[in-house]
Amino acid sequence: MELYQLSAHEAAGLLKKKAVSSQELTDALISRIEHVDATVESFLTTTFEDAVATARAVDKKIAAKEDISPLAGVPMAIKDNICTKGVRTTCASKMLENFVPVYDAFVTKRLKEADVPILGKLNMDEFAMGSSTETSYFKKTKNPYDAGKVPGGSSGGSAAAVSANLAFYTLGSDTGGSIRQPASFCGVVGLKPTYGLVSRFGLVAFASSLDQIGPLAKDVTDAAMVLSMIAGHDAMDSTSVQLPAQDYVSGLGADIKGLKIGIPSDYMGEGTAPEVKTAILDAVKVYEGLGASVEYFAMSASKYALPAYYIISSAEASSNLARYDGVKYGYRSEHYGNLLEMYQNTRSEGFGEEVKRRIMVGTYALSSGYYDAYYKKAQQVRTIIRRDFEAAFGKYSVILTPTSPTTAFRFGTHMSNPLQMYLADICTVSVNIAGVPAVSLPCGFDSDGMPIGMQLIGQSFDEATLLRTAYAFEQSTLFAQARPSI
């Protein structure tokens, strides 16, 4: 077995036993990236020197018998919309091609404090808008299971890097499914925490009321370890909640006998691929075998979730992305005769098609005369969906759905039809609208050998139950151990 094939917790265990050094782990990944990423194309920027320096510092601490954090010395990589001081943070956009933040995101700070070697920054859909990572200005990341297929998105680079063993884990961001859907497409675990559990400070905003940072990992234990490291109150984010620090790992092994799982029938409708449906039904059997009870129920408002999501997220995006005007930083057009032309040309040239589409949709939805019909109505739907989830959690501890109605599709499939692309998010957007946590974990393969993911949704701030439920499934099946042959 190669070092890069280890899970994060296995690597951390070997480090603590001094069976391996952090430098060895880091070197193994650097060499793996140098060999494989030419094919996968998941990294936009690499920071190998910094990673090695951190690894050496950790090795010194270990040699000096100093206490180290649980994931110290275990290398990872970060989605390129999370700010890293002194390292360019592009959001995969021409607009921020040369943007170097002078500050770290809260999560980046936490990683550095924990002595985690950071290997670099990962590709994504431009400004996290997309479900295939095809809208990146720089490159098209390949699905490690099939280079002709997309890795999902928007955290496609983060999912592909974990799947192809280029990092022990990665961080992504999830606004409507951007961690879970690529995790599902690439056969890894992806967790979107409860809104407010992880600080958004330093995450370049797409839709402020929906965005959350979370881990993409090789298994549930790793995801729990990463969450323990990045969760917690941050005075720099008003929406970050004040909760005591929690260890999400220790409770994973508790059994789930008597646990009530609900399946919303609406999530398994017409558009769901038969093989995905079968995999979910098999998962149900696994859970029943573990002593959980599974019941179908209706969540009728969920059919409005997708339009509501696209209105709210685009409205917020139109405002969040207005700051990219060429005045202070980022791209500025070279062709303008006055201020208005500078704005127009900078934004026309600096943003890609999908970003411009969402800015236009969002601007329209907020315009006077249309606000009530679109934005306000979408907020009303949001309230209804929240109540639906509250009602469901009155009966069930966890809700189970497919993560995506299909497995990974071929490049170009939906690029000419954005609405088809938006449907890839149908199972995931409600979760962001309600603010609840959800995890995607591998639960099967289709006939082409592409991974299928299932989504477990938990109650707000009850990541413990959610992860325990995911862990129980993972321990009873072999899907988490599967890796692409790349």
């Binding site: 919309n81 999370i82 700010c83 943070t89 959001c91 921020l96 943007f99 933040p101 002078v102 500050y103 995101a105 958004r200 400070f201 330093g202 995450l203 370049v204 905003a205 839709a207 402020s208 009321s209 005075a235 720099m236 984010d237 008003s238 929406t239 409205a315 917020e316 139109s318 405002s319 207005a322 700051r323 005007d325 005045v327 202070k328 930083y329 201020l339 704005y343 601007t363 907020l366 315009s367 006077s368 606000y371 934005y375």
Partner: protein, 480 residues
Amino acid sequence: MNQIKYETVIGLEVHSELSTKTKAFCSCTTEFGGEVNTHCCPVCTGMPGTLPVLNKKVVEYAIKMGLATNCAITKSGKQDRKNYFYPDLPKAYQISQFDLPLCTQGHVIIHTPEGKKRIGITRIHIEEDAGKLLHDVLPEKSLVDYNRCGVPLIEIVSEPDLRSADEAKLFLEELKSILECLEVSDCKMQEGSLRCDVNVSVRPVGQVEFNTRTEMKNINSFSAACRAIEYEAQRQIRIREEGGTVVQQTLRWNDEKGESVTMRSKEEAHDYRYFPEPDLVPIVVSDEQIKAIRNTIPELPSAKRERYMSDYGLGEYEAGLICLSKDMSRFFEGCAALGANPKSVSNWLLGDISRMLNEKNLQAGDIHIKPEDMAAFLKLIESGVISNTAGKKVMEEMFETGKTPQVIVKEQGLEQVSDTSVLDGIVKEVIAANPKSVEDYKRGKTNALGYLVGQAMRASKGKANPQMLGGMIQEILSGM
């Protein structure tokens, strides 16, 4: 032809920078006058990924102003984004309040020559200031200074209750005195910490409904507000009398030229696309908080004015003027507490001291005279040690140097001469030297006495006690 009598209808939007130590959403200082772009950080310059965190003092100060102007306080409020592009606004939206302002439905009382008048306050909301464009540094290019960006503001919107430029000025002065009294804003107009937009329409006297209004921006002083209102009212009246239509628009006031120019028409009005700011949590204010803030409100200018009239016997006008300025009333009360005659203090304060402040373009806060020196000064006059005329000199010197009056009197030899033996000599000399005036007096021209006293004062170099001189001259003349 001109038979219609018009009245002007005015509503004001007053922007006041709050005097919090740090900005509204980050920990940068709000201090004025720092080197360009040194009082800013990634948050207030809207760098990618940064988030605002509301400064609690901003809410406290705004509520304080709301309570002082009799407003209802919104207990469950929120903040909204006002979206527009401009280089001084680095996020391309201003965090403001749209439909749930912190304070609503208040009023203040102004004192017009016709008596008290109630002016409604529609709302007070909190928002952040923008940066400042610098056009004169580089040729063909504009630069931006973000020091002011994110400084907290309150916007106070009045009802259209004002009917003249004078009333508007009284209202602005009243607001300013309340803001200063509460210590929530330093109200320095020259530093832009108090600004206003005026909305003006005209209608025939007796008409109930309002006519089309225009909005004027870029007004930097109270007197500019008056000029702008008068100009705009006349412009609208002229349009109406010529049979034209007043068009709703936003104008920019040019105070140097004394005229307004169109900024944008109604059709060009911005669509700010307000929506709730998702990066901030709702503003929830409890009754306990409101009560606690209410307890920190000191005596307001209006109450103080009443007290000055009843306790110190000042006239309404004098009391009103002194109470407009916190520093002036502090000085006044300091002197009164030391036993100085309140009316005399008021006279000097509103007379010579105010004149000198105006001449030197200073504020009441720049008065360096100590109340105890003022009290001593008045005692010197009352006890006849110095004359009123000499008093003016002493006052000027006190104002300039801050020296005590006793020292000034001694240094300049200004003691009033009341010694009869000295005065007697002067009186005799003057009578001897002015036989014609003596003759006049005897023939009944009593004002000749004044002339003789004046001559005697001159001979004493202004030091003689004029009352004594008058008595002595009269005595001698009537004996002649």
